[in-house]
């Protein structure tokens, strides 16, 4: 009733909560509603993922059949595939942009941008982000970054092609190769916008989580998704600025002729004037971001799968506190391991040893998480929804890819394995496939929350099994190429005697990759079809405890009509003994669940414990009642 009175006090000056009159533009384009921004991030991320996947199929075709001509390639790519064969320069551009898009645009912005935006306000019980305006800006910077990155396919010299790590001198000396020219400039501009977008997003997420939780939602009652997004955002805030520092110096080297990263370079007969700089310093600055970046990619996926696995096992997540502490452990450790990307740069072996130890210690929190997932599944009342399958798939990839990390983290083994297909296989499993599966799990699980409709489960199963099998068929064989010393990024396996025997494997891998790509058609159809024609979603389709499912299905700016719900318990009360339903939402007070309360639920509140004891005396448990 009191809400009626408030209507007239509507404060028009308060533009950030602007829902004055929704027009097409303010609702769908320059929206400041976190739910709409989440959808914008997701759909942009999906489009970028499809593009990056297409690029990977192109270079897989080259790897499998380096001597064959495919006239259709020339139709699409023109001079970059003259005679139907991809040119070496363009091949390098393909792997570079595939990596850049996947790591930054899909698995950073597409993943964090989507789920942090959607779930942070909904799961902590807030009306919106701390600054909806910055949030909107964050999406549009990301969008511009995507457009600029893609625009490099429409210039004559092609996109950047020095690898997604853009090591100097290839990235700095504009004449080094075609991709070092305009394409590299566009790459840098795009990344500057991207970093700005990430920072605006991350700062917003952290501030929202720390300041805007609803009543009763203390930190230890937050779902693991929120913990993961929170720590991911902190990683971004602390590591992306270092990349900015590195990129600024790179821009000066490229455009003004300074020598931060350049020294003693001879091109043909030209001796470049630059002296005194060091390309290794770029590697330090890049990997100080680059390593936390891989955790920025995987941690939201881990958070999502924690939630999905617990909900669909109908069991509390095993080791909630351990899960949080291991995320914190990963966050802290990720800042002191970057040197393991640089073991072969002539690093002092003692320093290499230090980086090796810190790197291997990361296995501990990672293993804690893995075992906790397995223990949560153990004897659970499992519901194999598509989201659940993808979450289990994440655990599988995280294990099989994580194991090879132990090899690569070892400084002496890395001397052999560095820059081979072993590395490619490792990270495509542990952060590529695992994070993509976490993201897909999130899409299937929260699709009803985003669009108010359900995705088709049968297509979801088809999508899962084809993708899961194909991903292993693609990446598992690559380990053996790496062990044989086959270097990554090489254009034609026919050019080297020792690599020729791997051609047949490449053909196999390419067919598996094509199968994986086709499997995504099932997803894309399901996704876009269900937005409009899917079955209408009930309020809480997965019988989940978290706060987002208490908000009405139809979206409203502000998330909840009336009061924001109060939180009384942690989010993992599934199958609690003594309770009639197998889930108790966070909004249910203990006074309504007297039959299932446990002593530690009251956190030492003597009065509540007394009430509970009195109740238990008055209502003795009837045993063997059947």
């Amino acid at each position: 009733m009191s809400t009626i009175a408030l209507h007239d006090e509507h404060n028009h000056d308060h533009a950030d909560h602007g829902h004055h009159k929704e027009t097409l533009i303010s609702k769908y384009i320059f929206s400041m509603d976190h739910k709409m921004i989440a959808k914008q991030f997701l759909i942009t991320g999906i489009i970028m993922a499809v593009i990056a996947m297409g690029l990977s199929i192109l270079f897989r075709i080259q790897l499998a059949w380096p001597d064959k001509n495919f006239p259709f390639l020339e139709t699409f790519l023109g001079k970059w595939a003259e005679g139907g064969r991809i040119k070496p320069d363009f091949y390098l551009a393909l792997v570079t942009i595939h990596g850049t898009i996947m790591v930054f645009f899909v698995l950073t912005a597409g993943l964090s941008g989507t789920f942090s935006n959607l779930l942070i306000p909904l799961q902590i019980g807030a009306r919106d982000m701390a600054s909806p305006f910055l949030n909107m800006l964050s999406y549009w910077f990301f969008f511009m970054a995507c457009v600029i990155m893609m625009s490099s396919f429409f210039i004559q010299t092609g996109p950047a092609s020095g690898g997604w790590t853009v090591y100097p001198p290839l990235s700095v000396v504009a004449k080094a190769m075609p991709g070092s020219g305009m394409g590299m400039t566009l790459w840098l501009v795009s990344m500057v916008l991207f970093v700005a977008s990430s920072l605006m997003g991350g700062i917003n997420y952290v501030s929202t989580i720390l300041n805007m939780r609803t009543k009763g939602m203390d930190l230890w009652k937050m779902p693991l998704t929120i913990w993961a997004f929170f720590l991911t955002a902190i990683l971004g805030i602390l590591s992306f600025p270092v990349l900015v520092a590195g990129v600024v110096l790179m821009v000066f080297d490229r455009s003004f002729g300074t020598s931060f990263y350049l020294s003693d370079i001879v091109m043909g007969t030209d001796i470049l004037p630059n002296e005194g700089g060091s390309p290794i310093l770029w590697q330090h600055l890049f990997w100080f971001l680059g390593h936390p970046e891989v955790y920025i990619v995987i941690m939201p996926a881990l958070g999502i799968s924690s939630e999905v696995i617990s909900v669909n096992s109908r069991k509390p997540i095993f080791g909630y506190h351990a899960m949080v502490y291991s995320l914190i452990g990963i966050t802290v450790l990720s800042f002191i391991v970057w040197g393991h990307h640089m073991f072969v740069t002539g690093m002092n072996p003692l320093l290499g040893g230090v980086f090796m130890i810190t790197t291997l210690i990361i296995a501990v929190p990672s293993a804690v998480k893995t075992f906790n997932y397995l223990a949560t599944l153990w004897r659970g009342n499992i519901r194999f929804t598509p989201a659940m399958l993808f979450a289990i798939g994440l655990v599988s990839f995280f294990i099989s890819g994580g194991l090879t990390g132990i090899f690569l983290g070892n400084a002496s083994l890395d001397i052999n394995l560095h820059d081979t297909y072993f590395v490619v296989a490792h990270f495509h499993l542990v952060m590529g496939s695992a994070a993509i599966f976490g993201m897909l799990a999130g899409v299937y699980h929260w699709f009803p929350k985003m669009f108010g409709r359900m995705m088709n489960a049968k297509l979801g199963y088809l999508h899962f099994w084809l993708t899961f099998i194909a991903a292993y068929l693609v990446f598992f064989p690559l380990h053996f190429l790496g062990l044989d010393g086959v270097p990554r990024r090489y254009y034609a396996f026919t050019e080297f005697e020792f690599m020729k025997k791997w051609l047949t494997v490449n053909v196999f891998v390419t067919w598996a990759a094509i199968m994986a790509a086709l499997a995504q058609v099932a997803f894309l159809f399901n996704f876009f079809y269900s937005i409009f024609k899917g079955k209408v979603a009930p309020q809480n389709p997965w019988e989940s405890n978290t706060l987002e499912w208490t908000a009405p299905v139809e979206h409203l700016h502000g998330n909840w009509p009336g009061e924001i719900p109060t939180v009384y318990r942690w989010p993992y009360d599934y199958s609690k003994p003594g309770h009639d339903a197998d889930f108790i939402p966070q909004t249910v007070p203990f006074s309504q669940t007297m039959s299932s309360n446990l002593p530690h639920d009251f956190e030492g509140n003597a009065e509540a414990e007394k009430i509970q004891q009195d109740w238990e005396l008055a209502n003795p448990v009837e045993e063997n009642k059947g």
Binding site: A130, S207, N211, P241, A245, V248, S259, L281, G562
Partner: protein, 192 residues
């Protein structure tokens, strides 16, 4: 449903947004941390730094920016006493000091160029001085923007809580870039 929508117009809470400014300060600190650690590693591996006697203009600009922080503190105090005209005047003084700071920085670069220590050259440590002071100057631009925002709030006679909020975020940021410049200057003095 319509009437309940208004419930979300919770009272103006500046805390989360002030926190955003603090987080920006953190990330900016990290960026300059990245720059200066580049410099440290670079200088250590070459066994030499920029090797310059820094131009005097940097001393004057340091004094000017400290003065601007003081005027900003005084402006905040004036606002607390709800003395809006004094607050505005002091904010204008701060803006003028900021402009003087900028001019001083250009002056310093000019005198470096005259001695031959140019941005483009083979001593990355010297180029570094231009880059960090330039990046800092960009922050000054942002800071001036925030101060003007506070001024505008004061002139538009927004509710006091909002004027105060704008004043506070301007202060957080401005004192930060003041301290940042002192750090950079001392860093460059110590690591010749």
């Amino acid at each position: 449903m319509v009437l309940t929508m208004e419930k979300m117009q919770d009272t103006f809470d500046p805390k989360p947004r002030k926190f955003i400014v603090w987080l920006f300060v953190v990330s900016s600190t990290i960026m300059f941390g990245g720059f200066t650690s580049y410099y440290l590693v670079f200088a250590a591996s070459k066994g030499k730094g920029h090797g310059l006697v820094l131009p005097d203009a940097f001393i004057y600009s340091s004094l000017v920016i400290i003065a601007s922080s003081i005027t900003l503190v005084l402006a905040s105090r004036a606002l607390k006493k709800l003395n809006f005209s004094l607050q505005r005047n002091l904010l204008w003084v701060t803006v003028i000091l900021a402009v003087i700071f900028g001019v001083m920085q250009f002056n310093a670069w000019g005198s470096m160029v005259r001695t031959g220590a140019t941005l483009v050259g083979n001593n990355a440590a010297i180029s570094f001085i231009y880059v960090v002071s330039g990046m800092h100057l960009l922050h000054i631009l942002g800071g001036v923007g925030l101060i003007i925002n506070a001024l505008a709030g004061s002139y538009k006679s927004l509710p006091v809580a909002k004027v105060q909020y704008r004043m506070e975020i301007a202060s957080i940021f401005w004192h930060f870039i003041d301290i940042l410049w002192i750090y950079l200057y001392v860093f460059l003095l110590l690591n010749r």
